[in-house]
Symmetry: D2
């Protein structure tokens, strides 16, 4: 049969390809302070601008809000990220519903790219079966696992293309693609919903791959809202 669908070169990527790049943001500690202060300060006499240095009093206010779980002042801001991650990660990520918006590459509307996640560090079962514990595989076992994963993904992509060649609709053909297929999505959240995400996904028992996404997002919080970041870190990642 004449090949209708162009066969593409399969690519394997490791942890370094799991990215979460800040696309745009509207975020400042100053706005947290203003939003909190509006409840006490009916004339907004102590309104501060976003480029102003925070005073010690401002910083203490943010600490107080965090400790006492007054969450709403942290909602007047927004971060948009472009994330690259395997489908397995997206499945966890998209469980975060409130204050999170997503738009992702669709296997219905486009041919998915032949790009698969193959971990550089391979997590193996540890003796401690009940907890989220693991050891990393050493070579040559790690290599064997990676080869196995890569081959399985490559085979799946070949099957995918074969089905497309037969004229099967993309949304059906992609049924064979594995959850380590890389995908891409825009993600918008605010500091409060971000901190809730981080409180779960920075933890040591979170899945390694989503922790990579979390650490990227965490650093955006640090850069744009340093006082909020410090207060959140000091709280042991307890979201307000």
């Amino acid at each position: 049969m004449a090949r209708l669908v162009e066969s593409e070169q399969v690519e394997f990527v490791d942890e370094s390809a799991i990215t979460c790049d800040l696309v745009q943001a509207m975020a400042s500690d100053a706005m947290v302070v203003n939003a909190a202060r509006v409840s006490h300060d009916r004339d907004l006499g102590n309104f501060i601008s976003s480029d102003e240095e925070l005073t010690d009093k401002d910083r203490r206010l943010i600490g107080f809000l965090m400790e006492n779980r007054h969450g709403t002042p942290f909602e007047h801001n927004a971060f948009t990220f472009l994330v690259s991650a395997p489908i397995a990660v997206v499945r966890e990520h998209h469980r975060h519903r409130i204050g999170h918006a997503y738009n992702e590459v669709s296997g219905r509307y486009t041919k998915l790219a032949p790009r698969f996640f193959v971990p550089g560090l391979v997590r193996m079962d540890s003796a401690d079966k009940n907890k989220y514990a693991f050891t990393y595989a050493s070579d040559p076992l790690a290599d064997e696992v990676r080869d196995h994963l890569a081959t399985a993904c490559a085979n799946a992509y070949q099957d995918y293309e074969r089905l497309l060649d037969l004229g099967v609709k993309r949304e059906v053909a992609r049924g064979v693609l594995p959850v380590y297929t890389m995908t891409r999505y825009y993600w918008t959240c605010n500091a409060r919903s971000l901190m809730h995400f981080l409180s779960l996904r920075l933890q040591q028992d979170a899945m390694e791959e989503i922790r990579i996404v979390a650490r990227h997002a965490y650093s955006a919080l640090r850069d744009l809202m340093p006082t909020t970041y410090l207060a959140f870190s000091a709280s042991g990642w307890t979201a307000p």
Copy 2:
């Protein structure tokens, strides 16, 4: 008894004091286009930047999203407003829950200001009792109504101060303050939640005072996301 609480001059304001000022925004039609296009364009080859002019194709895409109620691409943005309005308006406004954040002056934490709404245009019952129909009162009836409203509010504030003088906690004393007491709050939303708000609050049967807030917010949408604004207007204000 010696007066402990300083008596304040009561102020009456009309429709012009109902304001909704844009404090900050992260909003562009370009981001709608990019967020929508990520589903089709796995390599983001057609990514556009926020200062780029939209092409006709981009504009048609936004129209398509609006018509077909694909709402998520309109969520990657944020608007923060500072609103001044009577409590009666806030009560309606805060019913909007999803994608809306609020922080308001608190009658528990501060003495509320002696500022009351007295409408310039007084809505009277019309013969058509069942529908949201009204006529505006003419003078001298309008004046009589306004006097009445103003006096009632001034009396309530006097009662409020009297109770504070007696040492009653603010949160109890404010129990006498009327729902035409002016208040102030920060409001953050995204274009999708904003359009949902507008779809209900721009309508002719929405309460006049909240329509003022809605019109202010509508103009922010127009200024920052003109293509989205046009598509939304063309849809008869049907939120995606």
Copy 3:
């Protein structure tokens, strides 16, 4: 002028009239267990029915979920309450957005009832100005305050009826009604959103009147989901 609007007898109510009655519920600890267990038990072999007694293992699972803030298993249930409370309480209550639904008597669509909250116990400022501290007024001061509140509310209602008499639309006339006007609303939530509400509104620094609502709702949780209730109480009211 001939009176068009029938004048109604004003009624004053105290804390005992702040109610939160369970109207309907679909809630069981068993469903929490099943929802949590679906992640581990692919064949639902350990599915339990809602009238079954929980085992110790089931109870420990609920404790584990609460401690580790796995919140979603607590969302597969619903409680509907009918609440009576002053507007001041509703304003706080309706700030709870996610997982909460409300429908309230509308001052636009009906003449509001002449029913006002006058606290039996009157909270007075304490020397400790900065914290949420108070003392209760003793008689005769308490009586004086109550008289004052009652008179202010009665006067406001008289003004309201007077304005209605003049033909002013209800939504404008109600502008004079105080935030201690009693109102009524349906409230639906799930155990997770309820616990989040309780975590803030059972606290000692929550406003007394909303704590009454919270305590009523808390007892519904206790009656219908006793294991969840115990685990939540043991956590110090930290919502998962």
Copy 4:
């Protein structure tokens, strides 16, 4: 190498295995009526009980709410379903965030079952490439496609078990499993969020597999809230 992981018999299922069974519900048209009526009827004099027959007036009220997109009265109810579907469907389903709760089998916590979706009816590209159009494959092409899908899935499961045998953690090994792997989850929503889901997922351009889930849920709405169902259907599936 000694096999540590027990090899399981692979099973292939078709459309009939995509199910959405009602597990529990608290739902009635009467509650919609009551919730809507509370805004007009301050004394709840027209409160109806859930087993009462609706009057024509009640039915017209529900029609009015639907037409005018008054959504909140439809939120005082809840439906819990147990859904079986391929991962590809879950990915679409879980994009529905507001008013939807989910708990799913986890590939981190359990070995996933060797159960794969292979469609009985195979959708093929139609000449009309731009629209969501398709034809069904006839035999022998349909058989060839099904064989292909089944073989690919079986191979992936063999790879999965092989990786588990090597001691790879479940969350990594499952990386090779395809998105046509069957999964299972609890889903709780209310009539409003359900109708929003249906408005998108009953449509002819929705993916066939999720339409099966939607039709099951639609019939639950029909059985428990027949007047709401009729009004929603009459509106052309426009969610309020």
